[in-house]
């Protein structure tokens, strides 16, 4: 399957966030959206997740406009993982992840729903926490629960709005590695807004570099993230270092 993001334009009152954003994502791909704060990454992710409509432009899934898809069917195609999480206490991990099954159920829980929850918990390595209360967990564990909720939703495309920004280094790497494995295994796709250029270099197949509401460049991470591009988009000088572990960005000024 394929998502086409076509000429998105969006304003917040008079502020033009998106001037013209287009790119596409195929299933099996992990794509990172990069760019400085306020460049429109989050807005793009939210528009693709149908949280609101753009001023103009279209999102198509396999050629079909997303507005024409019934919200419940759309929920089976696109799973959104926000930057900040909301949850209710007095709820177990199992119950929290089960919420991801909303498009598939109305009151009673089927074996298929439970199997999807089991798969999601195992994918995130938190199967042993299933019966724990959500408010007893550490921040990192909780974050995994919310990502598991999106996995239980079984979408074709995952949209992550910087969900790793508040995690420590190990959890960030864990989460991206796990998600990349899931994307490969299920042939799903992922769009993730990131701040850390090194994570983008290492864990994503393609980057879309956004600057002032427009796509500055898109393509393979190593091709797009050059010292020139980093300087023009972020306004910092950077060096690309290559060793036997891969390529790294070292920003210094």
């Amino acid at each position: 399957m394929k998502i086409d993001v076509m000429n998105l334009v969006h304003n917040y009152s008079t502020y033009k966030v998106l001037k013209d954003v287009s790119f596409s994502v195929d299933s099996g791909e992990v794509v990172s959206l990069l760019g400085p704060n306020g460049c429109g990454k989050s807005t793009t992710i939210k528009i693709i997740s149908s949280l609101f409509k753009p001023v103009s432009g279209k999102i198509k899934i396999d050629g079909r406009s997303i507005d024409e898809i019934d919200p419940v069917d759309r929920a089976k195609l696109i799973g959104y993982v926000p930057q900040y999480f909301t949850y209710s206490s007095y709820t177990t991990v199992l119950e929290t992840v089960l919420i991801g099954r909303t498009p598939y159920m109305s009151w009673s829980v089927s074996d298929e729903d439970l199997a999807a929850v089991d798969y999601a918990l195992r994918s995130m390595n938190i199967r042993d926490l299933a019966e724990r209360q959500i408010n007893e967990l550490s921040g990192g564990q909780r974050q995994r629960v919310f990502i598991a909720r999106a996995i239980a939703q079984k979408p074709v495309f995952y949209l992550f709005d910087e969900p790793t920004s508040s995690l420590d280094l190990r959890y960030q790497i864990d989460t991206l590695t796990t998600m990349r494995d899931i994307i490969r295994r299920d042939n799903s796709g992922m769009i993730v807004a990131l701040h850390d250029l090194n994570l983008a270099l290492r864990y994503t197949d393609k980057v879309v570099l956004i600057s002032n509401g427009e796509v500055y460049d898109a393509g393979r991470p190593a091709d797009v993230l050059t010292p020139k591009a980093i300087f023009e988009v972020y306004g910092v000088k950077a060096e690309i270092i290559e060793n036997d572990k891969g390529r790294f960005v070292l920003a210094y000024e």
Partner: protein, 371 residues
Amino acid sequence: MAEETSINTAYAKMHGQKIAVIAVTIVLLILAMIFAAASGSVYIPPSDIISVLLNSVIPGISDNAVNENTAMILFNLRLPRIFLAALAGVCLALAGAVMQALLRNPLVSPFTLGLSSAASFGAAFMIVLGPIVLGSLYKSTAYLFGYTLSMNSVLMIFSAFVFGWMSVSIIYLLSHSRSASQSIIILSGVVIGYIFQAGLLAMQYISSDESLRDIIIWLMGGMWGASWQAVIILFPITLACFIIMEMRSWKLNTLSAGDDVAKNLGINVARFRIQGLLIVSFGASACLAFTGVIGFVGLMAPHICRMIIGNDNRYLIPCAAAAGALILVVSDTLARIVLAPIELPVGIIMYLIGGVFFIYLIVKGRGAGLE
């Protein structure tokens, strides 16, 4: 390493425990209702209560001869009152539980959203201005279901209901264009509450001594207005509100993940939120119109149940409904018998018992997740 329980077993265990909690609450409610029917100035043994009930369904089925006077007290005085208390408890607790889930705010109840103030204003409005504006119509009587009703109480109940429900409709209109975010709804509710409070104060200020007394009795709340007519009107409303919300309970759970995630999961959040508020407010306004202001249950019954049964609304809603009814039936009965023959306002007992029980739950550590 211990063998891992399968997810199905874990879920079935959780489900079983929650059903058991609901069952226990319902059994306690039934026991409380029997206790309430038995107690009062005349003690009626439970065996007699059962005979009277059975005979009213199928005449002559029980051969336990019950004094006619006893049957009269039970049937005309105690039962309507018990049922009114139970129905009001269900409606208010249901409204509280649903409002708290819809707005993801633990402090929300029919009170915080201005519904009680608006209903109070509605009652006071009719008590003070009814006789002046409607003249002889206000003092007349009407016939309904073969019963004679005094027009002034019918009008007062109607006015309280209309204003109560209107307050939530105004919130709907205010938040309509602003995509119905929780903070706008809650703030609108609080502000609308103040506006009706102003109206209520004005009514009290200009009222005659006699009307003022009526207003204050209404504001204290209680089951004084119990009658079979009230029960017959409230029962279908309560049942309908309960069934509709129980059918929507999973979507209420989905809302706990936040508006954005709920939208992504296929829910029209703005519409779902406002529909839910209008449905439960309808039931709560209808009950408050008959009972006057009854606080606490709407806020606390859901919280107490949440600590015991958890936050899954599929179980929380029936549990809170039963617990709300239990709290009100017990409180009303104690209010009748503690200082008999003097009858206390139900609020005095309920705020005391409920408050102490809630503090006990917090101290015992079950309140750890309340934040």
